[in-house]
Amino acid sequence: MLLLALDTSTPAVTVALHDGERAVAHSTHADARRHTELLAPAISDVLAEAGVDRREITGVAVGIGPGPFTGLRVGVTAARTLGTALDVPVVGVCSLDIIAREVTMREAPHGSPFLVVTDARRREVYWSAYDSAGVRTRGPEVGPASGIPDALPAAGAGARTYRDAFPGLLEPEFPSAVFLAAAVVDGAVDTCEPRPLYLRRPDAAPPAARKPVLTPVHPSR
């Protein structure tokens, strides 16, 4: 098997190829804000690095957020298009779960409950809570960091932005496609349709009443 895994739900554009036993190639551009530019070359690079042809890909896994919409869609669109063009299945994984998986792998076997908190802009965060085994117990949700009920150590970039809201920080900051791929191969995360977790409605309001152009007529005295 050859699983292509990718995530663009944070500033990191991350891509990995997994052959069923290990990640055979990976690429991560952390802190990138140019998802559309970076993703395709990163996919070509991992294929080249692994020395495989794109027709050998047997499946695609993609982080479905939550995350800033525009960047998130870059990865989900690419994953779905590759799946359809290569005629292979595409699965989605909550991007916070990818970070959680890495936390659990790093901390095991001494783990304790923790949070994953990523940046949702507008002074808010996307967050989920996990038990000591890395099973999601709440979330994903969006809201101010101060509104998270449990005081637990937190992974993810959002925990770093609102440092004071958490008793401790955990690695990593961003999801890694290496952990995404491994988690999917190992059946260690829930997978679903590759549909973005937006959590917020689009900003849009029905048009306000039109301002009159005539100068108001004053009632005659």
Binding site: R34, H35, T36, E37, L38, L39, A40, P41, I43, S44, L47, R54, F69, T70, R73, V74, G75, V76, T77, A78, A79, R80, T81, L82, T84, A85, L86, P196, Y198, P202, D203, A204, A205, P206, P207, R210, P212, V213, L214, V217
Partner: protein, 348 residues
């Protein structure tokens, strides 16, 4: 002529998800999904709503286009995609899909200009263009007068709107007189029963002074205010608003200015062909007046059918075909979308 390369075009610059397939100037498929209904209650395109809809529509539209043409992805020789101008988030969906597709089929990818795509669409209707041409592009987002000396590589902007796009003006006036969104078709329908000469609305940027500074530019905000004032005055005076007459007179003003300046551009630049494109080019009065005035001036008028006037993927494939025919370099794999891509840049 199956010997010509098969080009797949993807368009997502606004609210239509389009995938088209073209060989040379022959259209094999033109699949379009529109999110226009989702925007109706907001009275205009909401970028995030459009972007979400593009993501959902992308692969189904791709499959529809392939089915329509009776080809497989393995038959595709090159891919073209709208790189700009347009809504940034919307463009990124199309470009991300196109880049992934280019990797999957291992074929060259060309990021092209949406506006020039509208001009290239005409080649699918009436065959290869004989450049130079003047193109009048009028849609919900654009009102531009272009001079195209080579559709694959050389276009320049003669003028454009300094405020609202023509389609936007149709949509706003429709709201003002109580017609649904998108306003263009409804105004046209209402205008059919009205008298265009019953009210004389202003013609934007046509005064002698404006014709020196803004010779090929357009403005519709003054017209919009004039219509609003007229309607409000009637309402204030308790007179029923003659919707048909207002629609007809408004439509006449838009059609008059658009075609007058486009014909002028042809004459002054000694160009014998005018191409009319964009959603507003679907307007019957704009089409008729353009035909009439071009005939008088001895200008050949070329306008594609309606489905090729509004945003679609076949127009992008048509431009891709022109670019491929000239053996131009594919776009770099890391090319970016450009929401304000200048018309002078046909290929990124």
């Amino acid at each position: 002529m199956t010997s010509q390369p098969l080009i797949l075009g993807i368009e997502t610059s606004c609210d239509e998800t389009g995938v088209g397939l073209v060989r040379g100037t022959t259209m094999l498929a033109n699949a379009v999904a529109s999110s226009v209904d989702e925007h109706a209650r907001f009275g205009g395109v909401v970028p995030e709503v459009a972007s979400r809809a593009h993501l959902e529509a992308m692969t189904p539209t791709l499959h529809r286009a392939l089915d329509e043409a009776g080809v497989g992805l393995e038959d595709v020789d090159a891919i073209a995609v709208t790189a700009g101008p347009g809504l940034a988030g919307a463009l990124m969906v199309g470009v991300s899909a196109a880049k992934a597709l280019a990797i999957a089929v291992d074929k060259p990818l060309y990021g092209v200009n949406h506006l020039v795509g509208h001009v290239a669409a005409e080649q699918l209707e009436n065959g290869a263009l004989t450049e130079p041409v003047v193109a009048l592009l009028v849609s919900g987002g654009h009102t531009e007068l272009l001079e195209v000396s080579d559709v694959a590589s050389a276009a320049k902007l003669l003028g454009g709107t300094i405020d609202d796009a023509a389609g936007e003006a149709f949509d706003k006036i429709a709201r003002l007189i109580g017609l649904p969104y998108p306003g263009g078709p409804h105004i046209q329908k209402a205008a059919a029963d009205g008298d265009p000469s019953s009210i004389r609305f202003p013609r934007g940027l046509t005064s002698e002074r404006d014709m020196t500074r803004h010779r090929y530019d357009f403005s519709f905000s003054g017209l919009k205010t004039a219509v609003a004032r007229w309607v409000e005055t009637a309402e204030r005076d308790g007179v029923p608003v003659p919707v048909a007459d207002v629609a007809a007179a408004f439509q006449e003003s838009v059609a008059d200015v658009l075609t007058r300046k486009a014909v002028l551009a042809c004459q002054e630049r000694d160009i014998g062909t005018m191409v009319l494109a964009g959603g507003v080019a679907a307007n019957a009065r704009v089409r008729d007046l353009a035909r009439e005035r071009c005939a008088e001036a001895g200008i050949e008028l070329r306008q594609p059918r309606l489905s090729l006037c509004t945003d679609n993927g076949a127009m992008i494939a048509a431009l891709g075909a022109a670019v491929v025919e000239q053996n131009l370099e594919p776009s770099a794999p890391d090319f970016a979308t450009d929401s304000s891509l200048p018309v002078t840049q046909v290929l990124v």
